[in-house]
């Protein structure tokens, strides 16, 4: 038996056990989609660095670990207080749905009703109104899905379901929280959270997805988020990934934008030992606008990989992409940003920038901006730079009395500020800045706190 077969066998056994345990019969379409996804996963196995999409990131540590599905039990509940402490204060009260180890935790969630806005657990919708999911689930992230997205589709059980009815403009951000307790079984746990956001015609909403884990806990989060932005809708999406440094995080956010819709993504990757985040966007109609911003900040032995894909399949669409990376210690970062301007997508206006800051000699970043233009009348540009802190700027600050660590902190914060400054949820921005300081040990100097605050 080849090692590859062994790796997928574990998941097959789990898959069969899950099907046997399932209490009520699932609709045929769902069972079929699960089986198809499982079949694709088994056929392809986990990707290797020989796959173009994965050439900078080896997932061997994930493939060779025997993860078990999280089972609800006293272990999880017992640590609810631990995990509750990881979510962002109480600023999202009334708009917060929490999942622990991939399962809805109603006790930690707080949702107030508003004008047809639905914030529910996907499990609840699957149990009671599965047909509502049929047109969407797995359709947006389908096509060229990865092995990990297939695995998620095979095991999908729970996650967030957000439906914003047509015309509803809702100001308060909706917070989707995915916490990992690291408890539940003796083996490391895997969860496959699945989120579906449906933004109806001319609706407007802000969605914040947070992923966090109990510090030191080893687990694997394999998340898929699908977002459908209907005609004229506006969705601002924030993702804050601050998993435990012993954890694995692999996630895909798939977005389909209808005519004249606006979508922004702000992705912050601070945690996990090994993280891979894909944002796959499609302009499915004319006149759309898309902003993809991202910041990865890693230290120690962390590895973080950001892949983005913007698909200009229709004319008169605008995309702006800005990713920044900060790497300290022996950390490794990857940015691969692909923009495809398809034939006929005239008047496309696309900008892409990636800038990386290396804070140590051992840190490393791979940056691959890719622009493929198949239309003639377009305005596109991209650029990528990687550098270190400017020694002249550092000396300038120190020459005014600012301690070296604080001066470095100021320059790093300023570098990150270009992305964090675009966060329009104040509580999130403040939380982010705090987490950034925690994540980059070199910036935790007491002098800095004192000098700056």
């Amino acid at each position: 038996m080849t090692p590859l077969a062994q790796e997928t066998d574990l998941y097959r056994a789990d898959f069969e056990a899950l099907a046997a345990r399932r209490a009520s019969a699932e609709p045929g379409w769902l069972a079929r989609r699960r089986e198809e996804a499982m079949g694709r996963f088994e056929k392809r196995g986990f990707p290797t660095t020989r796959d173009e999409e994965w050439r900078f990131t080896s997932v061997a540590p994930i493939a060779r670990t025997a993860f078990r599905r999280a089972v609800p039990g006293p272990g999880v509940r017992g640590r609810a207080a631990d995990v509750a402490a990881l979510s962002l204060d109480h600023v999202f009260d009334g708009r917060q749905i929490v999942f622990v180890d991939g399962r809805h935790a109603p006790g930690l969630s707080s949702i107030e009703a508003e004008d047809g806005l639905e914030i529910r657990s996907l499990a609840d919708v699957l149990a009671r109104q599965p047909d509502r999911l049929e047109p969407h689930l797995g359709r947006l992230a389908g096509g060229r899905s990865s092995s990990f997205a297939d695995l998620n589709a095979a095991f999908v059980e729970d996650g967030a379901f957000v439906s914003i009815p047509p015309g509803l403009v809702t100001d308060r951000p909706i917070h989707l929280v995915f916490l990992s307790s690291g408890a539940g079984t003796p083996d490391p746990v895997v969860s496959h959270p699945r989120t579906l956001v449906l933004a109806g015609r001319a609706s407007q909403a802000t969605i914040v997805e947070s992923y966090a884990g109990v510090p030191g806990a080893a687990y694997f989060t394999n998340a898929v988020t699908e977002i459908a932005v209907e005609d004229g809708a506006v969705v601002d999406h924030y993702k804050l990934q601050r998993e435990s440094e012993a954890a694995f995080h692999v996630a895909t956010t798939a977005v389909v934008q209808a005519r004249s819709s606006r979508f922004s993504s702000h992705s912050f990757a601070l945690g996990a030992g090994l993280a891979r985040n894909d944002v796959r966007q499609l302009f499915a109609g004319e006149g759309g606008e898309c902003v993809l911003n991202g910041l990865f900040a890693v230290a120690g032995d962390q590895h973080t990989d950001s892949h983005t894909f913007i698909d200009h399949a229709h004319p008169h669409c605008t995309s702006r992409e800005l990713y920044r990376g900060i790497l300290d210690g022996r950390a490794r970062g990857v940015f691969v940003g692909r923009i495809l301007v398809r034939e006929g997508a005239q008047k496309t206006d696309a900008h892409q920038t990636n800038k990386n800051l290396l804070l140590s000699r051992e840190a490393l970043v791979d940056s691959v901006p890719q622009l493929e233009i198949l239309a003639s009348d377009v305005k596109c540009k991209h650029g990528s730079t990687t550098g270190q802190l400017d020694p002249s700027a550092l000396f300038y600050l120190r020459s005014r009395g600012i301690p070296e660590a604080a001066a470095r902190g100021m320059l790093v914060s300023a570098f990150a500020g270009d992305v964090t400054g675009r966060v329009r949820v104040p509580a999130l921005r403040a939380g982010l800045e705090r987490h950034l300081r925690e994540r980059l040990p070199g910036l935790q100097d007491r002098d800095m706190q004192e000098a700056v605050l």
């Binding site: 120190r398 020459s399 301690p403 001066a407």
Partner: protein
């Protein structure tokens, strides 16, 4: 206040300063003049502690302490200030934010209480008038997109805020039109103080029409070859540096 003895310094292994002696007392203004490449800016940077400038011999004693043993931030807290010839642009860091951090680091060192935002802003208002700097510039990222003149004014503005005991102005006059020069000079003159010493590094005599120095030194090829009063600056203006250049070591007493 400042005693420099037999100072030798190298940059990238090349010796630039070859035995500088200079004594500056509180309340004095010294001008250091000299042709391009004579080591004027190197001297300024060595005093401020710029990394990459290696002192190979000699000593710099400031207020009785070994200045060369201090990191740059410690020198600043002890009252040393360098106005940069080429002020650095720092995108994303606002002038006021950074100056408040700097001032409070210095005040804390002096045993003074830290200024809160209100007190700091009224200080900013007062000092901004001194150098005629637009308050909107003060709130912008440090030097980013500033004109040459605005950058130099910002240096003098920072000096006014940080209130140093020893200020070294590295070619603060170069690249300024006459109006900007007058503004900068007026700022410097207002900061003249019996407790404060200033060292003006300049290539031209022009600044010294507005800021009258107590002493003028001529630096050529890494050594001070002549010292005098403000009349020496006028001689240099009339005669150039050539008559002083390349002194034979034996000619020095």
């Amino acid at each position: 206040m400042l005693e420099i003895r037999g100072l030798h310094a190298s940059v990238n292994g090349q010796e630039i300063l070859k035995g500088v002696d200079l004594s500056v007392k509180a309340g004095e203004i010294h001008a250091i003049m000299g042709p391009n490449g004579s080591g004027k800016s190197t001297l300024a940077h060595v005093i401020a502690g710029r990394p990459g400038y290696q002192v190979t011999a000699g000593s710099v004693v400031y207020k009785g302490r070994d200045l060369l043993a201090m990191p740059p931030e410690e020198r600043a807290r002890q009252g040393v200030f360098l106005a940069f010839q080429y002020p650095v642009e720092i995108p994303g860091v606002s002038n006021v934010y950074f100056l408040k951090a700097a001032l409070n680091a210095i005040r804390k060192h002096r045993g003074q209480s830290e200024l809160d935002a209100m007190d700091f802003l009224s200080l900013v208002k007062e000092k901004a008038q001194l150098v005629d700097i637009d308050e909107s510039l003060v709130k912008r990222p440090v030097n980013e997109g500033f004109s040459g003149g605005e950058k130099k004014r910002n240096e003098i503005f920072q000096m006014a805020i940080l209130d140093p005991e020893l200020a070294v102005l590295d070619e603060t006059d170069s690249g300024l039109d006459i109006d900007a020069l007058r503004v900068v000079a007026a700022g410097v003159n207002q900061l003249r103080d019996p407790g404060r010493a200033m060292v003006l590094v300049t290539h031209y005599q022009r600044l010294l029409d507005y800021v009258v120095p107590d002493f003028v030194h001529v630096l050529v090829e890494g050594r001070i070859v002549k010292s005098g009063d403000k009349e020496l600056a006028r001689d240099l203006e009339a005669r150039g540096y050539e008559w002083l250049e390349a002194p034979a070591p034996a000619a020095r007493s």
